[in-house]
């Protein structure tokens, strides 16, 4: 049933979408076609699906490891932005040197940028016991402001007609394309490889086992002597690293320069991807493809159905909402309390010992 809940959620999302399209006065079947089928019925469309799935996979993988360790990193978006900033910084610092080492260095810098940004909440949590949900989220906005400052100020392209963006990256600073004629780069393959690595980490390594125990039974982790601080650091740094990598892969991939906005919320959507994917790497890859389709469908709906862009966020939100609801109702059932109650009693989860 745990595996069924994303499917239940996807169906519920579609039904709700059907109702929404109908209420908005659109022909629902036509709208469904535009939203879910048309974007990927060409090979170019399909390549766009892979393109947008790439950062979602990367963010989702790291977040899943953190969530399984019971560490709540909500700020992958900020770590993604800082990864993009740090990687771009390397590209800009070396000018258009065309060295073969520039791109690997950029990727590395992207990873380090994400790690450093995630290290702040890790330090605050382990040193001052500050709630990482709040700090990671707040640092998203700090990261976006730093990016905004850089592209409006020191890193603005002098030859860019005053647009707030860096110069375009040269070929040596861009990820090679996976399929010519599309925008998909080798980053997609990298994401799949890392999905395999994430699976290996959780399933086969002792370090992965320790994070699982910390998430499933914190008292057992303490009992076995697995350090809580190490767990928090590891979870945040891994999720920061993968979000940072997603960020640099965006600017060194489809975007090709640093802009005021480098992500349409991939870091936040990654949270949904992680949950819909059941925190499992394979599930995350599938969930990322679904979320990517929602992005494409949202764009198509804007253009062809003249619906607002919020429709993408709406579907994403519905999906997460239904997954969480399905999880809850698989484990618990609603129970009416005694009707003599005058005030509404709290809904009691049925938890009779079985």
């Amino acid at each position: 049933m745990r595996i069924a809940s994303p499917l239940i959620a996807a169906v519920a999302m579609l039904i709700t979408g059907f109702l929404i399209f109908t209420l908005l006065g659109k022909e629902p079947v036509q709208a469904f076609y535009v939203f879910f089928v048309k974007p990927i019925d060409t090979s170019y469309g399909f390549s766009e699906l892979l393109l947008k799935a790439t950062p979602l996979i990367l963010c989702g993988l790291g977040l899943a490891i953190a969530y399984r360790a019971n560490v709540w990193n909500i700020g992958a978006e900020g770590q993604l932005v800082m990864g993009a900033v740090a990687g771009s910084g390397v590209a800009l610092a070396f000018g258009e040197s065309n060295g073969a080492w520039v791109l690997p260095l950029m990727l590395l810098a992207g990873v380090v940028g994400g790690i450093l940004w995630a290290a702040i909440p890790a330090f605050l949590r382990t040193r001052f016991n500050t709630n990482e949900i709040l700090t990671t989220l707040m640092l998203v906005y700090v990261a976006q402001l730093i990016l905004s400052y850089l592209v409006h100020g020191p890193w603005r392209d002098p030859a860019g007609y005053n647009f707030p963006q860096s110069r375009m990256f040269g070929d040596a600073e861009l990820l090679p394309l996976l399929i010519q004629g599309t925008r998909v780069s080798w980053a997609f393959v990298l994401a799949l490889v890392l999905a395999g690595a994430a699976w290996f980490f959780s399933a086969k390594t002792f370090a992965g086992f320790r994070t699982l125990v910390a998430g499933l039974a914190p008292a057992a982790a303490r009992y076995a002597g697995f350090s809580e601080k190490r767990n928090i650091w590891l979870a945040l740094l891994i999720s920061g690293a993968s979000a940072g990598l997603a960020g640099i892969c965006e600017v060194a991939g489809p975007i090709g320069q640093l802009q005021p906005t480098v992500s349409p919320g991939y870091g936040f959507a990654g949270i949904i991807v992680a949950w819909v994917g059941r925190l499992h790497p394979l599930g995350i890859v599938l969930a990322a493809l679904l979320m990517s389709l929602l992005y494409l469908g949202g764009e198509a709906a804007q253009m062809q159905l003249s619906l607002p862009s919020a429709v993408t966020g709406l579907f994403q939100g519905l999906l997460l909402f239904y997954v969480l609801a399905a999880d809850l109702f698989i484990g618990y059932r609603l129970k009416r309390t005694d009707p003599v109650v005058k005030q509404p009693a709290p809904v009691q989860a049925a938890q009779e010992p079985a």
Binding site: K204, Y223, T337, P353
Partner: protein, 523 residues
């Protein structure tokens, strides 16, 4: 007078009659053609080993499980009990062996959640205080459950049932966490309830208790009724034969000269941050190679804090206060202490001693990583599985193999697994909390014998238990913890249950009571 009581209820119509109850699970028949009847005011024991089907039968009565066949007659009418709420409405209450309390809520809030009717807060608190005092189970309604010991939590569960004024009360292994004095109190409570006309179904495998308390008994073995008895007319041996179908194993503690000091506590003091915790006050204790030291005490007197300090879960600043094989270890974390040769069985099995949703293999890895189950950071599943198999086999853990998840095991079987795991990790010092809590007689003997075998092989063993009989059976020396202080140790032959009981109240200076002195002379 007792006789007359007995006659009294015998003439009454039975309140509950079960006939031919059968419940099959895919792999096991939990109950087969089980019949029993309980009259008003009768205390009826349901006796059997772990897995004999006692709990399933009680869940049938409480509406948790629907039987495949058989009938339930309640107060003269045939009934199907759809769910526990229906059972409660009919006047059936149950105290489970595993508690279902929300740790972050207070006693009163927990009880309010379980009530089928809403009661005003202050009224409820007053009711709790009144009922708990009336039945000798004092609890503060405003206390948070997470700060309470197992024994105290049980009181909450009992009071929760009593508030609903049940006409049939089901008690599932209620005394496993109580002191002898508290057991006596509980028995008074139960007898008072019975004299008020309440029927009681009392599930246990403790033969002494059943003989002291119960009017009638139904014995289950492998899901079937293997006999009925008037416990007062039986001996422990005859009841045990009905229960296990053979003779009861015994364990032997042969006298032995202990070796060098392996665990030493010196002026161990610990101020707890928990507002309901117990502060430890300069505790001194040595445990030598080849001896078992037992610590008795009522739960909530500092056992939790002492165990956490010794295991390293709550490290202390004064490193020298705890010495493991001579190394100052007070400030070391649990992993480092394990590397020095310490293994530890905690009081809570699920969630602390074992990770509930993980398999037994992975639960071996939990503490066995340094025993060849990890190489270069990679988990070696073959050696992990082999180790788990060895534990299952040696300690006769009933489960579907090493791939069963920990939460699927019964409490007693999981306890066997955890004790087995910590034993086979070849400790030099082993600390065990409540080694046989909720474990049936046969398995208890197995665990106790395993501890004795460890001792005989030269391990220093420290046992903290609330079962005095057990401590007297396996300890070379016994101490008592009360109010965060530890008494001096005594050889079991130099003391007796009465003295230990007095010490448990915190009065270590009262010395040896008179009768005990008399007993000391011949031994």
């Amino acid at each position: 007078m007792k006789q007359e009581d007995a006659k009294d209820f015998r003439s009454l119509e039975p309140r509950l009659v079960l006939t031919g109850i059968t419940k099959r699970y895919p792999t096991v028949v939990a109950n087969e053609d089980v019949s029993l009847s309980v009259r008003p005011g009768e205390i009826h024991a349901v006796l059997g080993e772990n897995g004999a089907g006692k709990s399933t039968l009680m869940k049938v009565v409480y509406g948790v499980v629907k039987p495949d066949a058989g009938t339930i007659r309640w107060e003269g009418k045939y009934q199907t009990i759809a769910n526990p709420a229906a059972a409660r409405r009919m006047g059936i209450g149950m105290v489970f062996q595993h508690f279902s309390l929300f740790e972050t809520l207070t006693v009163a809030e927990n009880i309010a959640l379980a009530l089928d009717h809403r009661v005003a807060r202050d009224v409820l608190a007053a009711n709790i205080t009144e009922v708990s005092n009336r039945y000798g189970l004092p609890i503060d309604p405003e206390r948070l459950v997470h700060s309470m010991s197992v024994g105290e939590r049980q009181r909450v569960e009992i009071v929760r049932c009593l508030l609903q004024e049940p006409r049939l009360l089901i008690m599932d292994e209620p005394t496993s966490v109580l002191t002898p004095q508290a057991v006596r109190k509980l028995f008074e409570t139960l007898r008072r309830l019975a004299s008020e006309g309440c029927s009681i179904l009392y599930i246990s495998h403790k033969l002494d208790e059943i003989r002291a308390l119960c009017d009638t008994a139904t014995v289950l073995r492998n899901g079937k009724v293997s006999g009925t008895a008037i416990p007062k007319n039986e001996t422990n041996e005859s009841l045990a034969r009905m229960m296990i179908g053979g003779e009861l194993a015994e364990c032997h503690l042969a006298p032995r000269e202990p070796g060098e000091v392996r665990l030493q506590l010196e002026n161990l003091s610990l101020t707890t941050l928990d507002p309901f915790g117990t502060t430890l006050k300069s505790i001194n204790l040595t445990v030598r190679s080849g001896e078992i030291v037992g610590i008795a005490g009522v739960s909530g007197n500092g056992q939790k804090e002492l165990l956490a300090a010794m295991s390293g879960e709550a490290p202390i600043d004064d490193a020298a206060a705890i010495r493991l094989l001579g190394t100052a270890a007070g400030n070391l974390d649990p992993a480092k202490r394990r590397r020095l040769g310490l293994t530890f069985v905690p009081e809570e099995r699920l969630g602390r001693g074992a990770v509930p949703p993980m398999t037994l293999s992975y639960n071996a890895l939990l503490t066995g990583a340094s025993h060849g189950m990890v190489s270069h950071g990679i988990v070696r599943s073959d050696s992990m599985q082999k180790f788990a198999q060895k534990v299952i086999e040696r300690f006769k853990v009933k489960c579907g193999g090493e791939d069963s998840v920990a939460s699927s095991l019964s409490g007693g079987n999981l306890q066997k697994y955890i004790v087995g795991r910590e034993t086979l990790l070849e400790p030099r010092v082993m600390i065990v909390a409540q080694p046989t809590w909720g474990v049936d007689v046969g398995a208890s003997m197995l665990i106790r014998q395993a501890l004795i075998d460890l001792r005989d092989s030269g391990v220093a063993v420290l046992v903290i238990s609330e079962e005095l009989d057990e401590l007297f059976m396996i300890s070379d020396r016994i101490a008592v913890i009360a109010g965060g202080r530890l008494s001096p140790t005594r050889r079991p032959a130099e003391t007796n249950i009465e003295q230990i009981g007095v010490w448990m109240s915190g009065n270590f200076d009262s010395g040896v009571p008179k009768e005990a002195e008399a007993e000391l002379v011949p031994t």
